[in-house]
Structure formats: structure tokens, C-alpha cells
Amino acid sequence: MLLQQIINGLTLGATYALIALGYTMVYGIIQLINFAHGDIYMIGAFIGVAAVALFHQNFFLTLATAMLACMVLGVTIERVAYRPLRRAPRLNLLITTIGVSIFLETFMTVLKGPQPTGFPPVLKNVTLRVGTLEFSSIQLVILLVSVALMVGLQFIVKYTKIGKAMRAASEDYDTASLMGININRVISFTFAIGSALAAAGGVLVGIYFNSVSPYMGVTAGLKAFVAAVLGGIGNIPGAMLGGLLLGLAEVFGVAAGFSTYKDAIAFTLLIIILLVRPTGLLGRPIQRKV
């Protein structure tokens, strides 16, 4: 029973982690909370639905289509809406992300209507049994795909040249640009990767809950954002840890009888962590400079 709950928690947590990575990478480089990120996740799920419904693609092609399309979307949004504000006050940039978020949500509502749509069957749902343990094949796929993507991200960030540039930019934006790093390219790349991961999360969640709606990005985005803060925003392993912890906390919270307060669990956890460790579990302390 306990192990069963852990598996459920990890499945949920893995999807939070996938979305949280986008928040954390963007925050790490330009200190921006991108509130439109949750909506990219939503658009990703819808593109997944369209890919299956219109072109009858298989699971991996669906995933790839959604990820690629959202990559383009994320980079375009950054180019059109965020880049002109690079030197503006940060609160303005934040409001711009909210404007983009409202735009994407209503765009999808106008296109598809506000009610949730089902995800056309693309994966066979088989119940797997290991001893007394029961879990669905979909859960297994979600876990495997998420882990594969996170390992891939870790590889890019640790071992490629652009990854090195990303790390340098998140360390010190201005110095990195003085060292000949093309900051605009790094930021575009960050948005591309973050959006692709969010799209993957959207498709997986769409298949898992068999429901996709224009407003699914709001709650999921907020929770993933909480996950990023829990782990220490700007910290990639932190986002993964935060996502998994949050998933586990929610599943155990529901199991403990707080099901009606499910959505408050994440935020209560958030406030507690912020008060004890203001920069998150794996975050570095902020230095107050005089």
C-alpha cells in the first residue's frame, strides 16, 4: 500500500518536475518568473491531441511533435514579448508574462471551447502486477520518459558547449556576455528546452488523466512553479527533487484524508519551506550587499 502510493506520487511528481525545469532554467538565467510557462504546457497537450486525432501518430511521434512545436512557440514568445523588455524593470517583464498567459488561454478557449477534451487513445493501458503492487503501463511510460528527458537535460547542461554557456550565464549574466557568450542565443535555447519539456509534461498528463483543457496550465503551472521554488529556484537538480517531493506530498496528503484541501498542500509546503530555508532546499543563500 505504501509502495503503491509512492509510485503514484512519483508519477505525478515526475510531470511536475518536467514543467518545473522550465521555470527554474529561465529563472536561473534572467531572474524571471515566466507565468506563461504553464500555458505552454497546456498548448503542448493540445498539440498532442491534434497530432493523434489528425495524423494518427504513435506515442513517440506525438511526443516529438508537441515538443518541437512548443520549442518554436517558446522561442517566438521570448523573441516577440520578452526580449524588448530585457532592460526594463523586472515587474514589467512579469506582467508581460501574465499578458502572454491570458492571451494563450483565451486563444485556446476561442479555438476549442472551455470544456475539457479527452485524449484520443495512443497508449494501451495495461495493469501491471508485481507481487501485490499494481500500476498501469501509462504510469511506467510517464516515469521512464520523464527520467529519460531529465537525464538528457543533465547531459546537455553538463557536457555540451551550449550547456556550459547556460551555466555561465546563470552564474553571472553580464560577465558571461563580456566573455563572448551570445546571451540572446543562450536565452533562446533555454526557452526552447524549457518549453519542450513542458510540452512533454502536457502530453503525458493528458494521456494519464485523459483530459485536456485550456485552463489546465493554471494549476499545474503554479504547482510546478512551487516545485521549482521548493528545490531552490535556478537549480536544475532542485527542480527535479522539488517536483518529486511535491507529487509525494500531494498523494500522501490525499491518502491521509485531506483530499478537499489537495490544492492547498503544495502552497502550505511552499510557505513552510520559504520560512525555514528562504532559497529552497538546494538553493544558495542570498547575500545582502551594502
Binding site: Q31, I33, T96, V110, A264, T268
Partner: protein, 294 residues
């Protein structure tokens, strides 16, 4: 009086104008916290809802006079603001924003689950007590109070904290104490605004007070110009009227609204009236008059 008003102004316009006034009261409170004191908060709607539910339940179930329940709603919001502020205001910048965002969502979920608030179905049959006249009176009171506060010792201390908290503390300003006071006053105004809102719509639903509402109020303040009282008033008016004017585009309304936000932020990064306050407006007029007469 209200009958006379109805004969002059169409009830629909009255409703819209009331909404503008109600939002101005809330936005002035947020302007004190974020604009003047520099503390970012994403949970202002929570205090609106605390004030709204308190005032609505007091008039509906306990038959309290409107004014008394309005004030008590404001005080309740201020109390929660101070209780939240004491632990949370030691956080800085984005982290404070995130924590208040979390608080806002917790309040929303709590109201969705409580029996006394009617849960997810909402609270209906609230007596209608807000009208254009009492809203206007409160807007004027709030504006006067905020202008007096801004130019007082208290207001200057808040500005010092906004510019540099460490330097302000070195000058002997107890930053924490001032921040908590500013937070309390801002939340009180939010609570009053919520009370008017409840007694205008006569129906409350916890989902109306989600984080998007908090951002809406923040947009009013930032679009108008952070820290500027005339700016807050103009920003609130423009952004509250915008969706009404956009009604003719029907379902594209909110899409255009989102686009409008992005465009305004790109082309007016300091807000419509950034750095403008009443005193400077008056001084400029005097200078102009002096220049003309000489």
C-alpha cells in the same frame, strides 16, 4: 438620492463606475505596499476575499449595518495581513511574492471548503448596499488618506525602505515594523474594497479571488506607474474599462486584453504616469502659471 442617480446614469454604467471605484480602493492599498514600500505581493485578492466574506456574512446572517460590517471586514483583512506579514515580510523580492501567492491560493482553497462561506457553490443573497455614492465617498477618503500618508514621516520611511532597506535600517528606521504597518493598511483597504464588491454583486465565489485577480490589481498599479497615486487611479480606470469597451469583440476580448498588457509594458515601461504624484502635478501647474505671468 439613488433614484435620482438612476435617472441620470444608466444602471449598467453605474455598475461599471462602482467597479472602478472598488478596484481603486484595493489598488491604492497595493500601491502602498508595492509602489511606496517596494514589497512585492501576489496575494492581494486573498485580502479582498477575506474582507468580502466577512462583511457579507455579517450583514447577511447577523444583520449588521453595512458600514459596521464593511469596517470589520477591513479590520479582519488587516489582521490576516499582519499575521501573514510578521513571518513572511522578512523574505525579499520574488520570494516574498511567491509566499504571498501561496497564501492567496490557500485562502481560496479554504473558502472553497468552508461551510460558512457556502463552499464551492458560493455565497448568495447578500443584501445590496453598495451604491455609487458610498463607493465614491470611500474612494475620496482613501485617496486623501494615501496622499497624507505618502507625504508624512511614515511615507518617507517607506520610500527609504523601498530604495535601500539596509541603508534605511542604518539610518535608524525599523524596516520590519514599517513594512508590517504598510502591509496592514494595504490589506485593510483591500478588505474594504472586498466588502463593497460583495454588496454590489450580491454573490461571492472563491474562484473569483484566484491569483489572476491579484495580478489584475497589480497590473492596475504597475500600468499606472508604481508609487504614483494619480497613476494608480488612471491605471485602474483604464484597465477596468478596457474589457467593457472590448465587449464588441466578444470572445476575443480577453485575448486582446492580454495583448494590450504586453504592448503597454513594451511601449510604456514606467507606466502611464510613472513618477507623477499630486504634489508634483500642483507644482508644475504653479511653475507654468509663474512662467506665463513673468
Amino acid at each position: 438620492m439613488s433614484q435620482w442617480l438612476t435617472s441620470v446614469i444608466d444602471p449598467y454604467y453605474q455598475q461599471v463606475l462602482m467597479l472602478v471605484g472598488i478596484y481603486i480602493i484595493a489598488a491604492l492599498g497595493l500601491n502602498l505596499i508595492t509602489g511606496l514600500c517596494g514589497q512585492l505581493t501576489f496575494g492581494h485578492a486573498a485580502f479582498l476575499s477575506i474582507g468580502a466574506y466577512t462583511a457579507a456574512i455579517l450583514t447577511r446572517d447577523f444583520h449588521m449595518p453595512f458600514l459596521a460590517s464593511l469596517i470589520l471586514g477591513g479590520l479582519m483583512a488587516a489582521l490576516f495581513g499582519i499575521l501573514l506579514g510578521i513571518p513572511v515580510l522578512k523574505l525579499t523580492g520574488d520570494y516574498l511574492g511567491i509566499a504571498t501567492l501561496g497564501f492567496g491560493e490557500i485562502v481560496r482553497v479554504a473558502f472553497t471548503n468552508m461551510k460558512i462561506t457556502g463552499g464551492a457553490i458560493g455565497l448568495a443573497a447578500i443584501p445590496r448596499a453598495s451604491n455609487l455614492i458610498n463607493v465614491t465617498i470611500f474612494v475620496i477618503l482613501a485617496v486623501v488618506a494615501m496622499v497624507l500618508l505618502e507625504n508624512s514621516r511614515f511615507g518617507r520611511a517607506l520610500k527609504a525602505i523601498r530604495e535601500d532597506e539596509i541603508a534605511a535600517e542604518a539610518m535608524g528606521i525599523n524596516a520590519m515594523w514599517y513594512k508590517i504597518q504598510a502591509f496592514g493598511i494595504g490589506c485593510f483597504l483591500a478588505g474594504i474594497s472586498g466588502g463593497f464588491y460583495a454588496h454590489m454583486l450580491q454573490y461571492l465565489n472563491p474562484n473569483d479571488f484566484g491569483f489572476l485577480k491579484s495580478f489584475e490589481i497589480l497590473n492596475f498599479v504597475v500600468l499606472g506607474g508604481l508609487g504614483s497615486i494619480p497613476g494608480t487611479i488612471v491605471g485602474t480606470t483604464v484597465l477596468t474599462l478596457a474589457p467593457e469597451f472590448l465587449r464588441f469583440v466578444r470572445e476575443y476580448r480577453m485575448m486582446i486584453y492580454g495583448l494590450l498588457l504586453v504592448l503597454m509594458m513594451i511601449f510604456r515601461p514606467n507606466g502611464l504616469l510613472g513618477g507623477v504624484n499630486f504634489r508634483r502635478l500642483l507644482r508644475r501647474r504653479k511653475q507654468k502659471a509663474a512662467a506665463l505671468s513673468s
